[in-house]
Symmetry: D2
Subunit: 325 residues, 4 copies
């Protein structure tokens, strides 16, 4: 199946390459206003630059990979669904919940994979498989750690949607995926401890969020924009008979022991290294969905549900109160 | 220095033995209505059963170890301070904050060590030393895990003071000790997931608490009455340049590798095993305090401050709102 | 640069794919008497089946990847060097030391990379970098663990060259690489503990080898044909100021804790999974060597030197005595 | 039961205190030519200095702890057995194999515990229990690591008996205990890499020893007098279905993560810290043996058997050949 990549930025280069290498997908077009960026991704795979129209009207194109800027995700997704294409779409689906909700019906029959990549990470997949197999009895609580290595440049903040819609949204989706029950209460405490410029722009850089479901199960999410020690990505799942954890991945297994102690390699520095396998696995899932072999495991409604929770986090920080959904 | 043990229950047997073995302390009396319990602790050290009066009026007794039931802690501590004795007192100082506050002035000059044992755990001490040495820059956030292995019998609940005053209070003290700044906002989410009988008695068994200081630093506390995998006692400290963690202790270092994977020993099953060294270290600190060699590192005001936070947790659960102090 | 793959077996399929994906190499031919095997590797890269002659006489072919059966390695390498091709050659260079030595001069100017893949493993590379940086002072002793997961079928044994030339040879090369000094004494103790059929065929399946250099430094090599717990690949390097270790790699980081203990994933099951990165890295080194950008870090003389040690191991087992070189 | 400690040196102070604290033993005498050394150990337990004669002729003394210098172990043990005392004796039983053998019959009925402390280490005990339970099928090979942190002063060497009788002897006993089969072949390679003065005195400081049993099972022993990274004490046991390892113990569980990597505490620095529990457990075993509750698990014949192997190691190093027993 031929696919077109829309957006040749950072995420586009990851997904474009993975599509290009996937045996069931062929990267045919790269859509980006910057020809050299499009060529850098497309050339090794024989893909050529094209306009959005050209890509969407080509009947030989079966799917699109939407890696444009966040404010265009929904516009591009709607155009693609209207053109009958299978859709791989970067998160979030939109920053505006009302707008996202309003469009939801139009994706009812879409073959759409939303790029919540953590659902495809082999470590997290192994954790979920063990939880679902009942190894720790009934799942009761979760602890999710998602710490970015270093704060983004302040220029990124104004269009980012803020910490919760841009960053925590991954964890909100993870919580829904693992708990398999919707949170009904949201409390978020947040501070600006990393970069005061982020605060001046109205955002926060450090947060702790508590979700609670109707049955009383809870999830804590730990976020910071700057860890200082790499890309900290962990899950702890607590059940009635035990705990299952998924930990960080180190660069290598080497340990040095001296009389000063034991030292070993840092954890993976950033998402590119940490989630390389997850990105390949989610593209493989898209190939399966696009070919109609399976239904999408993470679709438009998941994007809306995560956005609902992200807005609740924003509201909780703004009001200092618990938000009940 | 001769000391008298008040209360020959579970904690009394730990502290009595540690005092008996300490080179600078001599266990002279054990005060308990049950003679056989008193003898079981006292006999190996040549200590004899005595009444409270006898112990407190003996001028050769320099200190008392208060391990009586919680509702008597304050009464015994007041009697001891009036008798001019050095005091080692189990936590909490009292379940009633107003009462505890009202008595505070009477301990202004006391040589009193409050038994927040986690402050003396060698793992947590090593963590604090590294944090204080600036190894991770400025401390920003904390994650404290305190999971009991198995729920107490429901009969324990009514006089326990509830999860926060009985159990979380250790973590509230740890948070104050590590942050070195008072929390000004408290939010606690809690459920009854372990034993519905606990809920029927008006208590909770699972909680997540978020503390926030005036400078925006945060601490999350994770509690359950039943882990199903042992006594989970961990700290994660996050700073501007890294993370420092203190983990669980396993029974041994043995690992078995087969084609089914790697298996190793459980973590320590309960407080007796996990905090054996901490109990010895806090008794050594009491010996130093009692002899006037150092001032107490954890005194009456720390007991009151932790109680303030525990009451705020209770109030947050009751009202579903953030409590501002 | 166009390359031809000679031999479309198990190793050929690894190296053929890695060459095909390398940006500086183009897989043009696959040489194998079994057309379907050749096609399985070549087709995805547009390579076609060819005879050895065709491949070696094509002036557009700059290099060959020799993955034929062990008894043909040297014949194919000689043909390739005569044709002026760069050579990537699977180990061992030959099973007959005299023959290998006799041919050595003909490779004096060859651009040849011998596939001692462990030298390219990122974990072992990181270990060597730390050793060479002096992190543990002067390197004194080594412990190398190389345990295969499961014994080969007995039919493999007669043409394998035996445990030392087929399997231990990797460790003998590792020892030379890490010690940077030639062993002068070799002692090998060996048994047949895994499969008595291996013993009936005159081979051993379990061995412990001790190498000693002129300066008294030592290396122990631990080998078994069947570990029962995966592909155990480890190095321990001991120096005057400490130890550096490189450990096994697990399938994932997930841990399950229950009251029965801690369990986690098995180590990598076999060489394909464990050394996937090493195979890519050695092909990248070959690309650099073939293009004349660097000289080979592991050439024909290394193959001969490892064979010398392997023969010494054989002799030590046969005679029950130390072999002095 | 009253016991007398013979020898108030380093080991005497460990065993004397453990006997003094054991509920079933009472330290009555300390025998040592240096009164202040005897008093330092005996005073806290109310034990007094005495001559050897006085201790051995006192009918109220049931056992002796022989911690004298190595050359007196056998003399003191013979005197004790003649006096009908239970005997706890430091290793080695003697440095002279012929002498040790000649005396063996006199201990036929003795209640004697030889202080091979590693047999009582909880980590190694747990490993053996798992091996014996068949968790890895049939035990095939062993790897024992015994690395001292820092070389002894050269003055210690001449009376030490040399590396194998003084130090490796622990591992030789471990090998016999774990394999439950006598080695019949011994090869030892050794060097002087740590301190040339040790070599000048005719000893070695670094060794690798390979033992082989009649059934072909093997054990490698790794020794150095100076690790540079603490007291490295490990076992790896390989069986037909897997591996069981017992690792080092760290001072605490604290880990620091920064962008430079992960650092944690050193391993235990020396035998006092590493084997504190083992020393207590072997004294508890002696108490049981002395009271006739159990028979000794490690007696005089074990001391002789280990000495046989240590002499074989010496001979192998001297001759450069395998020694067959």
């Amino acid at each position: 199946m031929n696919v077109a990549l829309i957006g040749a930025g950072r995420m586009g280069s990851i997904h474009g390459v993975n599509a290009g290498r996937h045996p069931d997908l062929r990267l045919k077009y790269v859509v980006d206003p910057r020809p050299e960026a499009a060529a850098a991704i497309g050339d090794p795979f024989g893909a050529r630059a094209a306009s959005l129209d050209e890509a969407l009207t080509d009947p030989d194109v079966g799917g699109v990979l939407i890696c444009s800027s966040t404010d265009l995700h929904l516009t591009h997704a709607l155009a693609a669904v209207d053109a009958g294409k299978a859709i791989f779409c970067e998160k979030p689906i939109d920053l505006n919940l009302a707008k996202a909700r309003a469009a939801q019906d139009r994706f009812a029959d879409a073959r759409l994979v939303l790029a919540f990549n953590r659902r495809f990470d082999p470590h997290f997949v192994a954790l979920k498989r063990r939880v679902d197999a009942g190894e720790i009895g009934r799942l009761e609580t979760l602890h999710l750690v998602n710490h970015d290595p270093a704060a983004p440049p302040p220029g990124f903040i104004p269009t980012s949607g803020g910490l919760f819609k841009d960053f925590t949204i991954h964890d909100l989706d993870l919580a829904r995926w693992l708990l398999d029950e919707e949170p009904v209460e949201v409390f978020a405490a947040a501070s600006c401890l990393v970069d005061s410029e982020i605060g001046r722009l109205g955002d926060v850089d450090t947060a702790r969020t508590v979700l609670k479901t109707a049955s009383g199960r809870m999830c804590v999410i730990s976020n910071t924009r700057r860890s200082g020690y790499g890309y900290d990505q962990r899950i702890e799942a607590f059940g009635s008979r035990g705990m299952i954890t998924a930990g960080n991945v180190a660069d290598d297994t080497v340990q040095t022991l001296t009389d000063a102690g034991v030292s070993s390699a840092p954890i993976k520095p950033a998402f590119l290294q940490r989630y390389a396998e997850a990105y390949r696995a989610e593209m493989a899932h898209f190939a399966d969905v696009a070919h109609g072999r399976v239904t999408s495991s993470v679709g438009y409604p998941d994007g809306v549900a995560a956005l609902v929770l992200a807005e609740a986090c924003d509201q909780s920080v703004r009001t200092g109160a618990v938000v009940r959904l």
